[in-house]
Symmetry: C2
Subunit: 431 residues, 2 copies
């Protein structure tokens, strides 16, 4: 297996202005090419420290990816540092010059000579196109530690220089660099992603511990999504068909271990999955929210194509709004309080009636901070409505205000999912 | 100025499961202690590579902070690696043993011997309390490169070991480590944060370029918040009063250069600032949203104490919902379309009327992807209502669906802020 390391160049990282998401993005992708990541390094815009980091990396790794330090404001720092290290000249690429000139003509700005330095690349390097910005990247391939203009599958080492801005970096990495790395490593690597709700991450890990501990291929990893737990199963091999078959077996295993809590075998978020199921059944949706303050509606509408499902959402932060906008009887609020199962039920029903939808959910609770009308922080009532069927649940969510709101919002969508699935079961379950 | 570097230990970082937010958090804070950050390094859970990284850091830096690799699952990797490096024994701390036993008694679980290894620390180290978890951290102070149990202001180097989970790490860093670092560096460091809306980051930078380029103390940096631009001005000196006075001068400068686009000199987000101004004036608020799908309400209610201001929010994703829930005349939608200045105006008015609030905003537009009813992606109409006064704006926001929604939501709150400020100007402007 090829060893990789990532060197990120940028004072803004050392100042803590941004997290190193470039290193995260690349690290998550490299296993797909059968390449393991062993180091991340961050250095400032300083040629000496960049050179030193690259030199150390070259001694211990096969794949060295630099991000940042391209472009005129940083004086094309990394290109010079890397070229110097291997005694390579910087050569101007006429095709790139033409593109830069075209770009400045198009935006109607005057080009300064410094801009042209973006067209200079270490000799013998492959230019990586930047389809989202002006600074192209480049890659130097090595054979027996000597820079060589060989095909990627003939190379044994590579140093790639990518821009720092995440969108530019990601596009260039996916389209230009990744195919070269896959050619170099000759392995097929695939992952399947499972989404689970209602089970804490520690418990998910516990139930899969026999597949996690000491397992090298396939590997199983859990991580936390927005209100749910995601499980990634990854496997690499030389035969694509065999890789696919091995991974597919995990569908049965996951279903057996997590039952209905496993809501997606496609890596969907709670809202993506919810929306797809509603669409498949042609159902319309509305919501009534108190403590989540619009988060349920926001989650659902953040998915493109939500408009064919969600008709409306009503955020009722005050009691008066609950009564007037949702038709909750003032007696219900008077007798049980705004944070109660009874009010939650009336809110869901009210949303379904006022918005004329098949499905509706409601959330009312205390997101905190502090106790509210005698209800402790984290106490939330959630109701789901499906064509006249009503279900209400009481929940106690831990963590701060933000966590309570997120957990409450996804739990509301999940409750509606379970209710709908129970009433309209699938012959061949699609998860 | 002391030189720092951060070494993060964790395979989950090298797998790209999480971004290195620990390094970001620490890097953003260290300047407050007058300490500069020169390197970040990430290594896996491997004693050899951890030891090598610490050894290199010790040769070139004064402050070395490790995160991760504490706790029983990682076999207390970093403590052993660091102790070995300096020939220090690991000694059991009885006070910590007592706390761990108490913890397991409380949660009713059986303690295994591995848990007790958390009570072992390199001799001569200071124990850093973990108020959010079980694994304490520790710090080793050095005098002339020799580990010494001296007071922080007498030490010239320090190696600190912090846990990896962000909440535990942050609390320990702030409460336990930061005071030691400040004592070591003997400098006072302060920052002021300014929030600007309606001016792109590149333009903010341009207008401040004389204060950014080549400036070492104070330093000025810009970064992007949720729909606004934040400017940090930082200054360090030996006299607290002088530091404060120097920074205060920037209030006038920023006001002169950004006028009403500068909405906060306290580093507030758009929604925090909006809510504070509404509260100061005792105004009530509601919103009517189409393409933002609940994001305006969600932003406002994400701030604790929002309930005294926001009464309700109505998300009307369908035309029928706009007509029935907000009272938008069907003729208006018929004549001008759902995405129009006329519909936006009726929506804001409708929200104010239906929810009986002083202030209301509305958003209707096409967040994309693709063209909708002949309206291109990014075209958004926003209206603000203040006690009968109505204002409507047409906007074209770039970027993808998420960016259009965020920009639209904060612009709506900003429009209401400007309208209210114009109608109720302040004698002594509070920004």
């Amino acid at each position: 297996m090829k060893k990789a390391e990532i060197i990120s160049v940028g004072t803004e990282l050392l100042m803590g202005q941004v997290a190193n998401t470039d290193a995260q993005y690349i690290s998550a992708k490299l296993p797909e090419a059968g390449i393991g990541v062993f180091y991340h390094t961050v250095v400032g815009d300083n040629p000496g420290r960049v050179g030193e980091a690259v030199s150390r990396a070259f001694g211990r790794s096969d794949v060295i990816i630099l991000t940042g330090g391209l472009g005129p404001t940083q004086d094309d720092l990394t290109k010079k540092a890397v070229a110097d290290m291997f005694g390579l000249e910087l050569k101007r690429d006429e095709e790139t010059v033409r593109k830069i000139e075209e770009y400045f003509l198009k935006i109607g700005k005057k080009m300064v000579p410094a801009n042209l330095s973006q067209a200079d690349f270490p000799e013998r390097s492959v230019i990586l196109e930047n389809s989202c910005g002006t600074a192209p990247g480049c890659a130097i391939l090595f054979k027996n530690d000597v820079p060589k203009a060989v095909a990627p599958d003939k190379a044994d080492k590579i140093i790639a220089l990518l821009p720092g801005p995440p969108r530019e970096m990601q596009t260039m990495f996916d389209n230009e660099l990744m195919p070269m790395l896959k050619a170099m490593s000759k392995l097929v690597f695939k992952s399947r992603y499972y989404s689970i709700i209602g089970v804490p991450e520690s418990e998910v890990e516990k139930r899969l511990i026999d597949k996690i501990d000491g397992c090298v291929n396939p590997t199983v990893a859990t991580y936390v999504g927005k209100g749910y737990v995601s499980v990634r199963v990854s496997y690499s091999g030389e035969d694509a068909e065999e890789v696919k078959k091995t991974l597919r077996k995990y569908d049965t295993l996951m279903k057996k271990r997590f039952g209905d809590d496993l809501f997606s075998t496609r890596g969907e978020s709670v809202q993506e999955n919810f929306l797809r199921r509603m669409k498949e059944r042609g159902l319309s949706f509305s919501c009534a929210e108190s403590c989540t303050g619009g988060l349920v509606a926001e989650l659902v509408t953040s998915v493109p194509g939500a408009s064919s499902v969600i008709r409306a959402g009503i955020v009722t932060y005050s009691n008066l709004a609950k009564i007037e906008l949702l038709g909750v009887p003032s007696e219900t609020i008077g007798a049980f309080g705004a944070v109660s199962a009874e009010t939650a039920a009336e809110m869901a029903k009210g949303a379904a009636m006022k918005c004329c939808t098949d499905v509706a959910v409601s959330v009312t609770g205390n997101a905190g901070p502090g106790v509210m009308e005698g209800k402790e922080q984290g106490l939330v009532y959630i109701a789901a409505w499906y064509k006249g069927e009503l279900e209400v649940g009481e929940f106690r969510f831990g963590g701060g205000r933000e966590n309570v709101r997120t957990r409450a919002a996804v739990t509301a969508l999940d409750m509606a999912r379970r209710l709908v699935l129970r009433k309209t079961p699938e012959k061949k379950p699609s998860i």
